[in-house]
């Protein structure tokens, strides 16, 4: 017995909803991680910032990934005057939730204190910085499918022939949005994406003109400064520095922004001191 079209559509819609609900099953709360987090909060309130930081890191290693945790962790590092790590965790909190105001405000306080360097996103890059990579991919995918399905429906579904012009217009519109999304995604990955960004965590880091210890200094990099990695060459990283400057910095002087790791993220490939 043949299945009519509206029955097929309704079945496919249900399938889609079920698939979209799949990840939510993995979001079940884990009470152990929450306990460590709450203990960390209590220790912070008591002024025991180092111990609070350890509890937060425990919570992170147990699998809690939350902007509140990252932000609190940044605060505990700030109170220990580890401004590089504080900046790193504030920025990670902003990656998880770009709309969170607290880490942004604390970064300004940090900037006032240590004069850290930051990339300034202007124009539409500023707009893009409020999105995440996955949101752009979702938008792009949705637009491509709408464009394709509208075109297919306009060409081959006889029942929709009266709306053929409308469907083709929709298809063209979404195709254009798709192209714009591809360009935006490309620019996002180059300039805004956290994947190739890093934060200076060493207190005495400097950017040098060459990947050798006795090369001349390009600029001093205050802790917490934001940089972009251009080339990873083992013990040295070739980086983009805010202000259109480039230079070489020792790998152990910085930590990758993303994905977050509790330990120093870049492998120690040399025993020489930072900077």
């Amino acid at each position: 017995m043949p299945i009519s079209s509206h029955i097929l559509i309704s079945r496919l819609t249900w399938l889609c909803l079920c698939l979209m609900a799949l990840p939510s099953f993995s979001w079940a709360a884990n009470s152990a991680t929450i306990d460590s987090y709450q203990k960390g909060n209590a220790l912070y309130e008591a002024g025991k910032y180092q111990q609070a930081g350890k509890k937060y890191l425990d919570s992170f290693e147990q699998g809690l990934h939350s902007e509140e945790l990252f932000y609190n962790l940044g605060n505990s590092f700030f109170k220990q005057e580890n401004y590089g790590e504080a900046s790193l965790w504030y920025r990670r909190a902003l990656v998880l939730n770009p709309h969170m105001p607290e880490p942004r405000q604390n970064l300004r306080a940090l900037k006032n204190r240590v004069g850290l360097l930051e990339f300034e996103n202007k124009g539409y890059l500023k707009l893009l910085s409020h999105f995440r990579d996955n949101e752009l991919i979702s938008t792009l995918t949705l637009c491509i499918w709408i464009a394709l399905l509208s075109l297919a429906a306009a060409l081959w579904v006889n029942k929709l022939r009266p709306w053929r012009a409308l469907l083709i217009s929709v298809s063209i519109l979404f195709a254009l949005i798709s192209v714009a999304s591809i360009l935006a995604l490309k620019r996002y990955r180059q300039e805004v994406s956290p994947d190739n960004r890093a934060v200076i965590t060493s207190a005495n880091a400097v950017a040098q003109t060459a990947p050798v210890p006795d090369a001349k200094t390009v600029i001093e990099l205050p802790p917490g400064s934001e940089v972009r990695i251009v080339t990873d060459s083992g013990p040295w990283q070739y980086i983009d520095i805010p202000g259109g400057i480039r230079g070489w910095v020792r790998s152990e002087a910085l930590n990758l922004l993303w994905p977050p790791q509790a330990t120093q993220t870049l492998p120690d490939k040399s025993n020489q001191p930072a900077g």
Partner: protein, 603 residues
């Protein structure tokens, strides 16, 4: 003259007197190239001169000493010249011959490399040399050897052209602005034709754009006249410690008097060359601003400034805006100058807006000349106010090395009650006018961080890339299946049409037979129109080789019936397709088929 006359005679003989123009050209060519020809007549006056390029030389640097021999060559060239405190070593020689008015003269210059290792004044002694067996002597010369310090800007007369980067002060505070001059020196009067934009590399320093106007002049350095072209800018450090301003580059077009013109016609025209000159580097010792005595309103300004305030209107209603122009004049870094602080005691009575800063481009301070900057700010008073509170500006004066605070006078205001607000309030509150406290916009303070976030944290999925998640690709199956379903429908229809057409081609029945069989198949509309469609196709095949119907009614009838077939077979709802054809439909179809049959029979 004898020389030229004899050549003229020879040329005339060669080319004949009937070609005076050719003769003239030959004479001109010979005159232009005469200085390259071997000397026919050499002057006998032999002379030896010692030439010192510049009177000062830095320790360790190389200078040039030359011995010029006119009308002769040395019988023996000394490989070195003995001079106490100096090293003078032979480098090479250069000879030339000139013919002026038929008189030839030769010149040979012997070059020596000169250097000194100790500071002091040294003498190059008289040197006696033999030319054609006769002894000649040079004159003695004095040379000062000095020690060049890092960043020493002593002008170097040993070079035909050079570039100098100068500043009056190299020990600075953070944000202290000082002038920066870039001067090109080229030997000779009015030698510089054009200079380009300078290229400077800096670390921890902010270089203000250089002025477009070029100050040109002349200067004598160690007896040599130089043309100068100076452009002026300014610089200020932003980080404490030793800051290096690397050597600047400047593209410059000038007359290179050292370059050989090549003689002949080329020597009649001025030859210019374009070179990229490289300057010295500058080292700044940058001190941090003192922490002691720093006023609360200090925002990084360094210099010495005066403040003048103009506000208008001074008679207004509560809620009306007051425009305040704050003019700052003085010497210092206007870039680092923030808007003066508005000292409103009851901030709730004032609504303030961010001040707009305008630096007068014609009055920029370079640390020596005075500059001017204007802040325009709008404030809105509300409530019981009698005066505009003072503004305060704090800066660090690098001359006195102290922080200075300037505060304006309070300006009396006459503010009447806002009748608009009062009437609005009275209409709501039953005729009782009350004053409303405006919402102030206080300045944010970012001295400390916010407290931690408490409460339950939001869990986030850390899987960074959506495309790595299986659920993403599973979700893509839904629209993909939908697309495939549409494609399948389209494919099915295509096959159906293709198959139907093939069956009709194979049929052995002709149009008339199909038309007669039509009356027997009237079960459903789909079957009926399927047969009609076959009938029409057959008619089309049979009339292909025959003349086209002359009547438009036949063509129109055929098209109408064919379109109806297409609609019923491929576009109509299933319920319509399964219904029986109506009498009207069958009669109309029959009428059109009869007309087609008649046309077929007639043709």
């Amino acid at each position: 003259m004898t020389h030229h006359s004899s050549i003229d005679t020879t040329l005339s003989r060669l080319i004949g007197r009937s070609y005076p123009l050719v003769t003239l050209l030959a004479v001109i060519l010979f005159t232009l190239s005469s200085d390259l020809a071997p000397a026919q007549q050499i002057s006998n006056a032999t002379k030896i001169t010692g030439l010192l390029h510049g009177r000062k030389l830095a320790v360790g640097e190389k200078g040039v000493y030359a011995i010029q021999v006119d009308n002769g060559t040395l019988d023996e060239t000394p490989k070195s010249i003995e001079a106490p405190g100096l090293t003078i070593l032979y480098q090479g020689q250069n000879s030339s011959i000139k013919v002026i008015n038929g008189v030839s003269s030769s010149q040979t210059i012997y070059y020596y490399r000169l250097s000194g290792d100790q500071e002091g004044s040294f003498t190059i002694p008289v040197v006696s040399l033999n030319v054609r067996g006769k002894t000649y002597s040079t004159q003695a010369a004095t040379l000062v050897i000095f020690k060049r310090k890092a960043g020493d800007l002593t002008l170097d007369a040993s070079k035909p052209y050079f570039l100098r980067l100068t500043t009056p002060k190299t020990s600075l505070y953070v944000n202290q602005i000082v002038p920066l001059d870039l001067t090109a020196f080229v030997r000779g009067q009015s030698s510089i034709y054009e200079i380009g934009a300078p290229n400077l590399k800096n670390e921890g320093l902010v270089i203000k754009p250089f002025q477009r106007n070029v100050a040109q002049g002349n200067l004598v350095i160690d007896g040599y006249e130089y043309s100068t072209a100076k452009i002026q800018g300014s610089v200020y450090p932003i980080q404490p410690g030793e800051q290096i301003l690397k050597s600047a580059e400047l593209r410059c077009r000038f007359i290179d008097r050292n370059a050989r013109s090549g003689g002949g016609l080329r020597s009649l025209f001025t030859q210019t060359v374009t070179r990229t000159l490289q300057s010295n580097a500058l080292s700044f010792d940058v001190k941090p601003l003192p922490k002691e005595g720093k006023p609360s309103t200090f925002s990084g300004a360094v210099g010495n400034f005066d403040m003048e305030i103009h506000a208008s209107p001074l008679k207004l209603q509560s809620g009306d805006p007051i425009s305040i122009d704050i003019t700052i004049t003085g010497v210092g870094n206007f870039d680092a100058l923030a808007a003066p602080t508005f000292l409103s005691e009851g901030s709730s009575q004032w609504r303030t807006y961010e001040a707009r800063k305008i630096i007068d481009p014609n009055e920029k301070s370079d640390g020596v000349l005075s500059g001017k900057c204007t802040f325009t700010q709008i404030v809105i008073p509300s409530g019981d106010i009698t005066e505009l509170p003072p503004f305060e500006i704090s800066f660090f004066d690098p001359e006195t090395e102290q922080y200075v605070t300037r505060r304006s006078q309070a300006i009396p205001l006459e503010i009447a009650a806002d009748t608009r607000a009062a009437s609005a309030v009275s209409s709501v509150a039953g005729g009782h006018a009350t004053s409303q406290a405006a919402v102030a916009s206080p300045l944010a303070n970012f001295d400390d961080i916010l407290f931690i976030r408490q409460g339950k944290p939001h869990r986030r999925n850390l899987q960074a890339n959506l495309t790595q998640r299986p659920s993403f690709w599973l979700t893509q199956l839904v629209p993909l299946l939908l697309l495939l379903w549409i494609l399948a429908i389209a494919l099915r229809r295509f096959i159906k049409i293709k198959g139907y057409g093939t069956n009709n081609t194979d049929t052995s029945l002709d149009f008339q037979q199909l038309r007669q069989a039509l009356a027997q198949s009237t079960s459903t509309r789909a079957d009926y129109y399927k047969n009609i469609s076959a009938c029409l196709d057959r008619w089309q095949q049979q009339t292909q080789s025959k003349p086209k119907p002359s009547s438009e009614a036949i063509t129109a009838g055929f098209q109408a019936l064919y379109s109806r077939c297409q609609w019923i077979l491929y576009g109509a709802p299933e319920s319509d397709r399964q219904a029986a054809p109506t009498d009207r439909e069958t009669s109309e179809a029959k009428q059109i088929l009869d007309t087609l049959s008649q046309h077929l029979s007639a043709s």
